[in-house]
């Protein structure tokens, strides 16, 4: 059962473009939504995260937009660079009780071309 659906599966943008990766969730108990960046041969690294009490969060060139009513959130990368080429995963969790775990999307492979 895929509780977090991520799209697109892959994305190619030119340098300076603004790739957008979308995620949708089903579990209304989710209250923490991080994005991870993974380079080949490396483990995922936390990029940016948001809680449902805000609709947008920016950190440098990375922005999360969150729509609680639609149960959707997205990652925008401003002024994308070739070094941003990586696989991006959205995730969700419910920080309650003893069930602390992250549910991940299937990932988006981003390629930024010159």
């Amino acid at each position: 059962q895929q509780q977090v659906k991520q799209s697109p599966q892959s994305l190619i943008v030119q340098k300076g473009g603004i790739p957008i990766i979308n995620c949708a969730y089903e579990n209304t108990a989710f209250d923490y939504f991080p994005w991870y960046q993974q380079f080949p041969g490396k483990g995922p690294a936390l990029l940016i995260a948001i809680r449902p009490d805000v609709s947008e969060k920016k950190e440098g060139r990375f922005t999360i937009s969150f729509n609680k009513s639609a149960k959707q959130f997205s990652l925008h990368i401003m002024d994308s660079q070739p070094g941003d080429s990586a696989t991006y995963f959205c995730a969700a969790s419910s920080v309650s009780g003893t069930a602390s775990k992250l549910t991940f999307g299937t990932g988006t492979r981003l390629q930024v071309t010159l």
Binding site: Q6, P44, V95, S100
Partner: protein, 113 residues
Amino acid sequence: EAGVTQSPTHLIKTRGQQATLRCSPISGHTSVYWYQQALGLGLQFLLWYDEGEERNRGNFPPRFSGRQFPNYSSELNVNALELEDSALYLCASTQDRGPETQYFGPGTRLLVL
């Protein structure tokens, strides 16, 4: 500060064998999470250990098991290996029980022939 380390980096086994994967968390971290990253399936939660106890388990058969040692390092055991167990196995650690600050290791790539 050293990050999460995992060993071995690669492991090749045949069907029916057992595999043992190891993880050392960041110093001071007491929680360890294990994930399976199979091609096209993202990261699937396997197990969560905190203070030496198994706290949560993902939707995997009992032949996936593990433990956490007094020094908070952890071991993942996969018995009766099947071809579909071939994947990248990732370990993550956190300082507290929340999932927010999970730091991942580079993973162990398991190939089952």
